[in-house]
Amino acid sequence: MRTHTTRRLLGALSVLATLTLTATACGSDASDTGAGDSGPKDINAALEKGGKVTVWAWEPTLKKAAEDFEKKYPKVDIELVNAGTGDKQYTALQNAIAAGSGAPDVAQVEYYALGQFTIAKSVEDLSPYGAQRYGTSFTSGPWNAVTEDKAIYALPMDSGPMAFFYNKKVFDKHHIKVPTTWDEYVEAARTLHKADPKIFITNDTGDAGATTSFIWQAGGRPYQTDGTNVTINFGDEGTQKYAATWQKLLDEKLVAPVSSWSDAWYKGLADGSIATLSIGAWMPANLTSGVASASGDWRVAPLPQWTKGDKVSAENGGSSLAVPKAAKNKELAYAFTEFATTGAGASARVAQGSFPATRADLESKAFLDTKFPYFGGQQANQIFAESARNVGADWSYLPFQVYANSIFNDTVGKAYVSSTKLTDGLKAWQDASVKYGKDQGFTVNK
């Protein structure tokens, strides 16, 4: 029942999003000139003067960052607003920017969605505020995601290098070795499902974020963006490698038809019927709070490889903090963004369970030595940190990835519910994305 309403609602929202996307495309000039760079950015003066900073974010550890910031700068009032999660927040943000009022001073934007706001010039370039000095503070994946040429459109808040989470109890029971390649993974899927038809190696009903991450890891680079020149091509070798392997799983019905993040998903993770997850390094927090009953069952391993012996990883999820051009007090907004994403602010958030995008935190001994009782005392951060170092370079998302992801289930999603092949689905996704890009005024090549 609930999913049904959500579906319908999402449908309505995506219409809204499309409407507003068009609106911003037309109205971007106004917000561009309206902001105006007024001399040097005196952040300290702004901090002394004080004021209110509205932050739209859903990331839970920002609460701690806001408290610490207010303690340090008593004249500044941080108002944390959860304006929705993911695309719901982007829709709201687009609406507020289009309407010319109600935009926050700081907004959480996932890396995949940032392009939508940078291309419309609706977020502030943070380099004049001094953000360029953090060039080497962040790991390369997230840093590449927030920078374009010399502009810095946001500061990385967390990251999601991928790792392989598996239910050791289930693996042990059925004598399965942890797969190191995706071929072994498919084998493991077969063995598991044969041994107990209720057990699936993983769940998948078509998830744009996961698919792009797998393609990323396989070496595919379907999206290339250079300003308004965009290339979309799912024909490359990496993509084909991913599609061929995943097609096997789908053909043999080896993945559970359960959507990630649903209550059924949490249930599957708890009772062992979903035996593994290949997902971002932020997952431990969700497992610990959401699947408490399976504590001790799970372990972490490096992501299976496409070629034996390789050590390649990819990012899955992760968000940045951006300052919308429509922000009222940009100096203060930047000050908070800087505080929450770097230095002590970032470390405090990492201590609360956020996965770092900062090298210092990622390499700190305390972080690497942390034992996870949930994973039977395993020092899982060492695996995550290595994954962060091995993230494949040069990945980029589309400037309209939010839209592209919203049509994923209408195109690639068919491979999960009908006899459509994944490659055909990807082709359909490519065509629909190309068409949308052209309609939005991009030069799109296949």
Binding site: E59, G84, A99, S101, G160, N286, G317
Partner: protein, 326 residues
């Protein structure tokens, strides 16, 4: 069935069959009394012929309606762990019902209570205001003749046909320009307009308030305002309660309007708040609180169920008014 028929044929006189059978107690007829009894009992509209398929369908519908409610009640007794580990339609090993309620009310600094108060405010101001406006407008349209009445009628009927969802985006842009988004006004003001309520009150007032009565009042020297409050209003009570009930349910369940208007969780109604808790489970690092969502949902429907039970007799008489010639 068979047993009762045999009893009836062997013992002619007894009559569990009612007055009719008692009146015809001659022995020869008695043999057939039982089978024909069914035929002779007239099937009036108030005593319709029982139909097995219909009963089955009704039973299914009943099950379909009650099952989610039963599920909600059962699962409100489980904690997060129990929800994932136990069968959905039966209780877990241990019950957490009261614990769940207290946690729902205190989680995240008691934000649920705040949402409950917000919802009450929206319902009181929005649905209450909508009812007042509908009663005043409906009465005026039914009982006063003035130029443009037909135009008003056309507009109202047209407005009933436009779904609120279609108006959401324009309404949002309008309120945004007025700087009213993110304030309670953005939810209350649109809720004040209820074309359906107006139409209902209009039809109801036309039937329930005899024009002759108003004329009599005027002749006796009563002013229009006094006439309305002392004569018309008491007659309009059933209709008013109906409209109130409709607007209350609509405002209580309203989701889309607050969704686009309100970004500040401090002004969320319960519908949005519960959804925000649900969305929390769908984010990296977010805490899954399905147990609190379920208990919260249960708490959310309790007031509306109570209101419905209290007001439903008015509602029934209200809807039936004017449907039969008296």
């Amino acid at each position: 069935m068979t047993t009762s028929m045999t009893t009836a044929s062997t013992e002619p006189t007894p009559s569990p069959t009612g007055p009719r059978a008692a009146g015809t107690t001659t022995p020869p007829r008695a043999r057939t009394a039982a089978p024909t009894r069914r035929k002779r009992r007239p099937h009036t509209p108030l005593n319709p012929r029982p139909s097995i398929p219909l009963t089955l369908v009704t039973g299914l519908v009943l099950l379909y309606t009650l099952l989610p409610l039963a599920w909600l009640l059962i699962n409100a007794t489980k904690d997060q762990k129990g929800l994932l580990d136990s069968f959905g339609l039966w209780f877990a090993d241990d019950t957490h019902f009261w614990d769940n309620i207290s946690r729902t009310l205190t989680y995240d600094d008691g934000v649920f209570v705040r949402w409950l108060l917000n919802t009450l405010l929206y319902v009181a101001a929005g649905a209450g205001g909508a009812t007042v406006l509908a009663v005043l407008g409906g009465y005026a349209l039914a009982k006063y003749d003035f130029p443009g009445r037909k135009a008003v009628f056309a507009v109202v009927i047209g407005a009933v046909a436009v779904p609120g969802t279609a108006l959401a985006v324009p309404t949002f842009l309008m309120f945004s320009n007025m700087g009213l988004t993110n304030t309670p006004w953005a939810v209350i003001i649109p809720s004040l307009v209820s074309p359906f309520g107006l139409y209902l009150m209009w039809v109801f007032a036309a039937e329930a308030v005899p024009t002759e009565l108003l004329e009599a009042a005027r002749i006796d020297g009563s002013g229009e305002v006094r006439t309305f409050f002392t004569i018309a209003l008491p007659l309009l009570v059933p209709g008013t309660v109906t409209v109130l009930l409709f607007s209350m349910v609509a405002t209580w369940n309203n989701y889309f309007l607050p969704l686009i208007m309100i970004k500040d969780p401090d002004w969320y109604p319960l519908t949005l708040g519960l959804n925000a808790w649900n969305a929390q489970a769908q984010t990296a690092g977010g805490e899954a609180v399905f147990d609190l969502i379920i208990t919260g949902s249960l708490l959310t429907i309790v007031p509306i169920v109570a209101v419905f039970l209290l007001l439903q007799r008015y509602w029934q008489s209200g809807l039936a008014a004017g449907s039969v010639k008296e």
